[in-house]
Symmetry: C2
Subunit: 234 residues, 2 copies
DNA sequence: CGTATTATTGACTCCATTCAAAGATAGTGG
DNA sequence: CCACTATCTTTGAATGGAGTCAATAATACG
């Protein structure tokens, strides 16, 4: 695990990742403590459940999943993380991670080390604000997921596709074409559906002209109709 | 809405609510800005969805629910808040609340005003740590809820009762006897079940000798058997 | 090229919902 | 204090959406 100094000011993700609300001098201060990590491959653990909290992480490229294990030995994919998104908050309270974070494909990330957080909070009020803003965003995301968990399968999958599209677009990727880094099984797990249901619904969406499906390549052909699935219906 | 100076140092909730990880002098500093609010009745709004964020709130007595509205006009009870618990985090990122908070019974709360938060973050690093610890706890709670949402109805209700019992106990109330401040409808909404299912399962738990049900009064007769519902079974 | 993993599709089953109707509780005003 | 009403709860019967089981097909990988 090689650590190396990085520059937030020149990172291709600036304004997307943490620094977006900070001044130039604040970004410079953060750059001094942020460390880059080496590349991981699909299936590699970024951290395990129970690992000591090492800091807040930012994904530079690739994607990851947060996984919790229940009392029955089943895995639960809590969330999917895309480039520019932060993770590690599940270790903030107890100093130990409450979830595992696993690479979904070849990926890179930065780390804002835990031992410099307390110092940064005092010297950079903007950082504290940014982190709180972020936790607030997580809250709203959770709220949506919670609402969604009571909705029919079709709606959950539509939301998943739209959400992925929007988040990728925000990061500069195409909003209408992307490759899923998850299996049908993983999508189903994340949405609380059987993998067969995911398969059937992707087919249905394709038959209805909403999307194109080629293996894991998804094309949004009619995004507004897809969005209507979330609004329409009693 | 009357505001009045309160003393965190002499609050019956100290060590339960925010101040638990803070020094005496830090608690004194917080006391200077915390304001008490007048009593609310069941159904009263603590804040509405979309309201401007006024600060972090702590429940002194009574209980409340966080409610989100979806695109279909349905309400969703995101969480239940008991004495000593904090709310308002849904407004931290956008400056506007993403949920409504509604009293479930006669209740009182304190408020840590938004406009003093930034100042406190700089002068009281311990406060920042406590708030982050709290958001981390919320994360773990959400993780549990997420896992639970894929489990059968029986397990969800068992978890709900156990969780209520533990949280009330932590606040000095009886762990084995309590009054639900929610209707069957509200419990069902919160757990993603029909109110009829909640009614049937409470009956079943009673018939199995796990609990006693008299209207909204619940007695846990066999807590460990109730807990087994969460563990046992494939 | 062969093997393991992943995806599709069909048939059957079941848990929880919905619909419906009756019963209990709490609150209100005469 | 009791009758009256609105709200909440219980219970039964029927329905349906998604899960499970099973077998085949397509991809990815070594």
């Amino acid at each position: 695990m090689t650590h190396s100094q990085v520059s937030c000011s020149h990172c291709s993700l600036d304004s997307l990742c943490l620094p977006r609300g900070l001044s130039q001098s604040e970004i410079n201060d953060i750059s001094k403590v942020v460390k880059a990590h080496k590349t991981l491959q699909r299936g590699d653990f970024i951290y395990h459940e129970g690992d000591r909290f090492r800091g807040i992480l930012a994904i530079k490229s690739g994607s990851a999943k947060l996984v919790a294990n229940d009392a029955h030995g089943n895995e639960h994919i809590i969330s999917i993380l895309l480039p520019g998104e932060l993770l590690g908050f599940d270790g903030l309270s107890t100093e130990h991670h409450g979830c595992a974070a696993i690479a979904l494909e070849t990926m890179m990330f930065c780390i804002l080390p835990a031992d410099s957080l307390e110092h940064l909070f005092q010297t950079l009020p903007g950082l504290t604000r940014e982190l709180f803003r972020h936790t607030g965003e997580k809250f709203l995301e959770d709220r949506n997921q919670r609402v969604l968990s009571k909705r029919p399968a079709e709606e959950r999958l539509a939301y998943f596709l739209i959400s992925l599209s929007e988040r990728l677009h925000r990061r500069g990727f195409s909003a209408s074409e992307f490759k899923l880094s998850l299996t049908r099984q993983e999508i189903g797990n994340h949405l609380g559906l059987a993998l067969e249901t995911v398969s059937r619904l992707l087919k249905k969406f394709q038959d209805d002209g909403l999307i194109g499906v080629r293996h894991r390549f998804i094309t949004l052909r009619n995004p507004s109709a897809l969005r209507n699935i979330l609004q329409a219906r009693e």
